[in-house]
């Protein structure tokens, strides 16, 4: 067995932090992605431009750069806001910056996934809703979103795996997640290979858990959906 020199609990704490980070970014990212997709398919020229700008610019810049930019770049902004509300020491914690940056990147890709899924819902369903006198919001809530979910799920699953691996980037701004904890252990023990290998195995098992979870989610979302006989 691998000797962890008593750093086992620290790695477990780091893993928990990684999971928290990924889930928080996932929730915020899903909202951003949905908003982006709705903007891009809205037909309103301004909203479409905003959605297009968001998904193009964010996807063209490295995730690491977003993490650094949001953490180091918002210091002055946060100070300004802080002095306005009477707390001049206000700053973004590494966790908040990490969630924001990862959600931003996840949302940009999710925009495209959601957009594709929205377009894949047959227009007849929407028209049927209109014919029944449903409001636009109600049509989205009752008809389009539940159907879109099933189509979007595989794409979102891929994005979530990418998101989970990108959480390692937040170690660069000092958040004590799995990667940072491993680095601390390496500094103390001088055994880089051992600890980074353990970190890699933990990430791998997180990926496997996510894969299994997604499999069941997909099955759940596809319930009642009959596959055409081929």
């Amino acid at each position: 067995m691998i000797d962890l020199h008593g750093f086992g609990p620290a790695l477990v704490a780091g893993t928990l932090m990684t999971i928290q980070l990924a889930l928080c970014a996932l929730v915020l990212g899903l909202m951003l992605g949905l908003a982006g997709a709705l903007a891009k398919t809205s037909g309103n020229r301004l909203l479409m431009a905003v959605g297009g700008f968001y998904s193009t610019v964010v996807r063209g810049v490295p995730e690491l750069l977003w993490v650094l930019l949001i953490y180091f770049g918002t210091v002055n902004l946060m100070r300004a806001i802080g002095s306005y509300v009477g707390k001049p020491e206000l700053e973004l914690s590494p966790f908040a910056a990490g969630v924001l940056a990862l959600a931003l990147c996840f949302g940009a890709y999710a925009t495209e996934v959601f957009r594709g899924a929205l377009l894949a819902v047959p227009p007849g369903h929407r028209e049927a809703g209109l014919a029944l006198g449903m409001s636009t919001v109600r049509i989205y809530w009752r008809i389009i979103l539940p159907q879109m979910w099933r189509i979007a799920l595989p794409g979102l699953g891929n994005l979530f795996m990418i998101l989970m691996k990108d959480t390692a980037l937040v170690s660069v701004i000092g958040l004590e997640e799995l990667m940072r904890r491993s680095q601390i252990a390496v500094t103390a023990t001088k055994e880089p290979f051992t600890f980074f290998l353990v970190a890699a195995l933990i990430y791998l098992s997180l990926t496997i858990v996510a894969m299994v979870g997604l499999h069941f989610l997909e099955r759940h979302a596809a319930r009642g959906f009959v596959r055409p006989v081929s």
Partner: protein, 230 residues
């Protein structure tokens, strides 16, 4: 926004662009060459041929690039045999470590693209080649692979853009690529927003250039003539 600072440091940033492009080009090209046999083996009908590439791809896609990078750059030095070995001058150099890791990483992804493309080649075309008396290897070399190259090219261009963004991680092992250079400049000027903004714009420009190159390549390979009726 202090534009004069951006302009003043632009030459330094361009140096970073050079290194980033080197990393992407080397890993993109070597990765592609190595990924073709891997992908062909992954698409094999025999489980014992398929198993090893599957494991490789699973390992490299399931763990973050940052962990892989640290494993190669910091981790390998843990072993006496590596430090005494003939490859040490390369494995000590962050540039070659980044190239090796990025190649191994992108190879796994490209192999999946190759597999998908091979399996998307219409079965009738392969049967036609076999019916004309071509051997299995001839069919692979003259029919399946050229056809798969055209099917897989758009996905490969995506992968290259992803590698461009992943190359930002090279800054974490002391390399002065675009991100690394930006961080160094910020350490001198204390202007994170301006410099990261400039770096982000440069990344956008590079990816735009790459997209254009791949568009030309697609035109040259006549990718869209493969489909019927065009």
């Amino acid at each position: 926004m202090q534009w004069d600072v951006i302009i003043q440091w632009l030459p330094k940033l361009f140096e970073g662009v050079g290194l980033t492009l080197q990393l992407v080009a080397l890993s993109g090209v070597i990765g592609l060459i190595l990924a073709i046999p891997l992908g062909v083996a992954r698409a094999s009908q025999h489980w014992y041929v398929r198993a090893l590439p599957y494991g490789y791809i699973f390992l490299f896609r399931g763990t973050p690039l940052l962990v892989q990078l640290f494993l190669v750059y910091y981790g390998l030095a843990q072993f006496e045999a590596v430090r005494k070995g003939p490859l040490w001058p390369y494995l000590r150099d962050p540039f070659w470590c980044a190239v090796i890791t990025m190649t191994l990483h992108t190879m796994a992804y490209i192999a999946e693209i190759v597999r998908g493309a091979i399996q998307a080649v219409p079965a009738g075309e392969i049967e036609a080649a076999r019916a004309l008396g071509m051997s299995k290897w001839q069919t692979m070399l003259f029919i399946t692979l050229p056809r798969a190259a055209r099917i897989g090219l758009p996905a490969y261009s995506n992968e290259v853009i992803l590698m461009l963004k992943a190359s930002a991680l090279a800054s974490t092992i002391t390399l002065l690529d675009l991100t690394g250079m930006a961080r160094t400049i910020i350490a001198r000027t204390y202007l994170p927003v301006e410099i990261f903004f400039a770096a982000g714009m440069l990344y956008l420009l590079i990816s735009y250039g790459l997209v254009l190159c791949f568009k030309l390549l697609e035109k040259w390979l006549r990718v869209d003539t493969g489909q019927l009726g065009r």
